[in-house]
């Protein structure tokens, strides 16, 4: 990439990524950033090494755990001496006038195909199902698109894959990893068009009870989609 990466996952997120304690969707977003960002790749290796040290220092109850009967079964299995390539069918997203090469993990996640929905305002969305805790999707903002002003709900991760967008807090380029949590008011806009991958907390409070009654489903979904762009 020709632009410098300015926005990275927090240290805390990278540490959790290294120890394996995040949800699938979060892991995918961070993995994709890490593939694009050398700095975070190095950080991740360091955190993995540190996590291994912490792991070995963790106290274990030595009395009740004897697994030695497993060994006989294991050593009968054949060993692997080369890594097979797990090539994926889809590694590019074709935009109107060009193609975008996806990070490998996103290519894999999108391998079964993407269903794009138009959300109005020049925003298109393709959802991915990656885990129970988050909502994951590709978002494409057409050149010149701008979302209405809205209040952001829940936490959201946005990884820019192509093009760029801006909000009141900054301008975001490919590989930038933007985390938002809280109730900032945003108005994302994109002059040149922008392809992103976004991960949102499932807003459980909004899918139940009075809030849902107050929002006709479509309207609710539309707002959620816009809120998503807040990252």
């Amino acid at each position: 990439m020709n632009t410098e990466v300015n926005f990275h996952p927090s240290t805390e997120l990278l540490q959790k990524f290294a120890t394996g304690s995040l949800s699938g969707g979060m892991n995918v977003a961070i993995s994709a950033h890490v593939e694009l960002c050398k700095f975070c790749r190095q950080q991740t290796s360091e955190f993995e090494a540190k996590a291994a040290i912490d792991w070995l220092q963790m106290p274990t109850e030595s009395d009740e755990s004897d697994f030695s009967d497993l060994v006989a079964g294991i050593i009968k299995q054949p060993q692997i001496d080369s890594i097979g390539s797990n090539g994926s069918a889809l590694n590019e997203i074709h935009m109107l006038d060009h193609s975008v090469r996806l990070p490998k993990v996103l290519a894999k996640a999108a391998a079964e195909g993407l269903v794009w929905k138009q959300l109005g305002g020049g925003i298109n969305q393709a959802e991915l199902s990656l885990d129970d805790e988050t909502q994951c999707e590709f978002i494409y903002m057409k050149p010149g698109s701008q979302t209405p002003v809205h209040k952001h709900q829940g936490s959201e991760i946005t990884l820019v894959l192509d093009g760029s967008f801006s909000d009141e807090l900054g301008h975001y380029n490919p590989s930038d990893f933007i985390a938002r949590s809280g109730s900032d008011v945003h108005q994302p806009r994109s002059e040149e068009g922008c392809l992103c991958f976004a991960v949102l907390d499932k807003p459980l409070t909004f899918t139940k009870g009075i809030a849902r009654l107050l929002n006709p489903i479509n309207n609710y979904r539309f707002r959620r989609s816009l809120a998503r762009r807040a990252g």
């Binding site: 020709n2 290796s45 090494a49 291994a52 697994f67």
Partner: protein, 239 residues
């Protein structure tokens, strides 16, 4: 500034910063190839053992013995050292005893199966076994929760050899084609303009440095560069 290049029958947009990066890295590679013999990293485990791990009882030595000689004694020792730790990791992440027991089976089986892929360049044995444990744990938990299985742990945390091989292959293919194209276009420029392009985009000099190196006024350099870029854009765009 944007340039359109045809590569592999595909249109690629690239701006001048990217173009210079491409030229630059390839120039560096050619330079390296000229000045020193191609080096392959010392990957043999024997060299590594003598140089860095004389202790035959270290986790690394044991893991290498498992990988090179299918040494079951070495595996037994590793199993005794790590099985409880694997179980503890499982309990921490899944809080489920049965799953954690299954994780011991899965993770230690992976250690056995993948041991031939381990070498000392991959870091400590502990770190290597930890990442295998983390990955199997993630996959097990996902399966248990019946979550979509399109993305596995090995996609999320690609092992180094996957990543480096795939990237290098793609990049060298890409850069090779691209450079051959661009080089052809640059050769069509007048010599004075070629020299300027070389200074700025291949040797990565500033305008001022390039003017000094070519012993021409800064204004002349800038206008030659502008002409060269205009001509390049024209050549590349109409190819």
């Amino acid at each position: 500034m944007q340039i359109v290049i045809w590569i592999r029958e595909k249109r690629v947009f690239c701006d001048m910063a990217e173009l210079s990066l491409t030229l630059d890295s390839t120039a560096m590679r050619d330079f390296a190839a000229d000045t020193e013999p191609k080096q392959t990293p010392a990957r043999s485990s024997e060299d590594g053992m003598h140089a860095r791990t004389p202790d035959p009882d270290s986790d690394e030595s044991l893991l290498i013995a498992v990988g090179n000689d299918q040494c079951t004694d070495a595996f037994n020792t590793l199993f005794n050292r790590f099985a409880n730790k694997v179980f503890a990791h499982g309990m921490k992440i899944t809080r489920n005893e049965q799953l954690s027991k299954d994780l011991v089976q899965e993770a230690m089986l992976t250690v056995w199966q993948k041991a031939p892929l381990y070498d000392l360049d991959r870091g400590t044995a502990q770190s290597w076994i930890f990442t295998l444990t983390r990955n199997r744990c993630f996959d097990m938990l996902r399966k248990q929760k019946r979550q979509p299985s399109c993305v596995s742990a090995d996609d999320i945390w690609p092992s180094e050899e996957d990543e480096v091989d795939a990237r290098e292959q793609q990049d060298s293919e890409f850069i090779g084609t691209e450079l051959a194209q661009i080089d052809k276009f640059i050769k069509q420029l007048p010599l004075a303009q070629q020299a300027v392009v070389e200074q700025i985009y291949i040797l990565d000099r500033t305008h001022e440095e390039a003017a000094v190196a070519l012993d021409i006024p800064l204004g002349t350099l800038k206008s030659r560069l502008r002409l060269a870029m205009g001509k390049l854009r024209h050549l590349i765009g109409t190819e």
